[in-house]
Amino acid sequence: MLRINNIRAGYGNKAIIDDISFNLGKGDIAVIVGRNGCGKSTLLKTIVRETHIESGEIFIDNADMQKMSRKDIALNIAFVEQDLSSEIEFTALQYTMLGRTPHNSIFKLNDSKKDVEAALLALKTTNCEHLRDTPVNKLSGGEKQLVMIAKAIAQDTPIIILDEPTSNLDITNQLEIINLLKELKNRGKTIIAVMHDINVAIGIADRLIMMKKRRIFKITEPQDTQNSQYLSAVLDTEMEKIDVENENKQIIVAKKLLK
């Protein structure tokens, strides 16, 4: 599905990330973790060609992403930004409909019934159907995040990228987003997300991509018994694994700074 080989990329002539390689299959969830400034967001932006790729290759189903048009990339990858900003006061439905843009010719003056239905279905999937006529600028943080994901669902792409989808959300909204990502995985979507909450990441990921100093430090599975050691090194913080009482589950907590 997605193959990244030896990518070195950045802005202008300055490389921000280097030596990045990993593969993802259909229905995989990869969560990228690491300290602020380690290149997580740059990696996400590189996958949608928002940075200058100095060397390396990105393939989507054997098609070279660097040779694709903007429209072709948008037909394969939907990107959920950190914040929802809109100069005009779209309603949640109008905003979600924007996800249909790559599927349509620009020579149309009215939204087709098919596009409206796709957007409504996407809003229903994210439990935001009741917000369809609410201006997006009046939504709460959690609702905005859900509507942004609805736009990505309406875009109907095999890959969805999310940049910190659970940041600044309360626990209820976080759980709602996590359940939604699991639902999308079950539908066969490949998901790549940046997250800061290690336990949320371990809870949903098939693959943890740990980044340090703008390179991949380690790619592990959530069950890996050495995750706390790897994370200690990545986050420069001593991390400890703790058993959850009465549940066959462990969580990782930060103990103290290493530097």
Partner: protein, 329 residues
């Protein structure tokens, strides 16, 4: 869909009323009933006034209104700022400098009237290039772009004055009249050409509304849904600059019309750019025709150019939007 049609009908009625008023109001106003029932003889004074003065004037005010307001609407969409329009970005000033060069150096006498249009076009496109370059250097800042627009307007105005100083008395009068937009001297051929161009632009540009809708959520977000924003900005800005140059070469500078009308349309009727562009075109035609009628009557027997009225109203609206924007931030 129902609302969209209703909105278009309302604004079209407003435009038609303004056109009819323009034919009938004022000294030597035409009696429409007589005109439509064929009571006006083809060789009568009334017919000549209608054909040679009133009709070209109305066609020019509606066409320029449509073109300049669509240009304003597109620019506001590209740069996501309600204060952006051909005048505030200095494009009108750039086009005016082109006109000044054509008239001042007698190019229109050598190559005919097209020289004015071509020079205005070069002036507007050169300004557009400068504005886009400044925007790129400033990392996409619209505030810097607006400041650059004001500076460009000052600079082009100073150079136009310099050209006037070097010109003959006749040319000075001509350049001065161009710096204040007016439809008084509209000629039939040019008015019909402008009208055809305005109709073509109104038929085609609403499709660009799909791109502007996508760009309203930010350049990067628009690219994520398949819009090549770099190319879109250059292409749409070039189209808007060309429309500005056409208007300035025919009537002179019409300040702020491209700001007032699209903002009023957005406030009253529609936020979707596909409709905003259509409604800005029809609404712009109505607005400048009403400015022209008012200008003809307000200090009668003298005439106040439509560009001055538009500038006064627009200046007030500009300050209002600026205060509103500051309060919002």
């Amino acid at each position: 869909m129902k609302n969209q049609t209703l909105n278009i009908i309302i604004v079209t009625v407003l435009m038609l009323v303004s056109i009819l008023l323009s034919f009938t109001i004022g000294e030597n106003g035409i009696n429409l009933h007589d005109l439509l029932t064929g009571k006006i003889d083809n060789e009568s004074v009334d017919w000549i006034i209608f054909k040679e003065i009133r009709l070209p004037r109305v066609l020019m005010s509606t066409s320029c209104g449509a073109l300049i307001c669509m240009a304003g609407c597109i620019m506001q969409g590209i740069f996501r700022n309600p204060l952006v329009e051909p005048y505030t970005l200095g494009l009108s000033g750039g086009a005016m400098l082109g006109v000044g060069i054509a008239v001042g150096f007698g190019l229109n006498e050598i190559w005919g009237g097209q020289a004015t249009t071509i020079c205005a076009l070069f002036g507007a496109l050169a300004t557009a290039l400068i504005v886009l370059t400044i925007r790129k250097i400033m990392g996409g800042s619209t505030t810097s772009m607006l400041l650059a627009g004001v500076m460009i307007s000052f600079a082009t105005s100073s150079i136009s004055t310099l050209i006037m100083c070097l010109s003959s008395k006749e040319n000075i009068a001509q350049i001065t009249s161009w710096s204040i937009g007016s439809f008084e001297l509209a000629n039939t051929n040019n008015a019909f050409t402008m009208c055809i161009l305005a109709i073509i632009a109104t038929a085609l540009l609403p499709f660009a509304g799909n791109i502007l809708n996508a760009m309203s959520i930010g350049d990067e977000a628009a690219r994520h849904i398949g819009i090549d924003t770099g190319r879109a900005v250059v292409a749409l800005f070039a189209i808007a600059s060309t429309m500005t140059a056409l208007c300035v070469s025919q009537t002179g500078i019409i300040a702020f019309a491209g700001l007032i009308v699209p903002q009023a349309i957005r406030l009253i009727f529609a936020i979707d750019f596909r409709q905003q562009i259509i409604l800005s075109s029809i609404g712009g035609a109505a607005f400048l025709t009403l400015c022209d009628i008012t200008g003809r009557e307000i200090i009668y027997p003298r005439e106040l150019p439509a560009g001055i009225l538009s500038g006064i109203i627009g200046g007030i609206v500009f300050i209002y939007i600026l205060i509103k924007q500051n309060a919002k931030n």
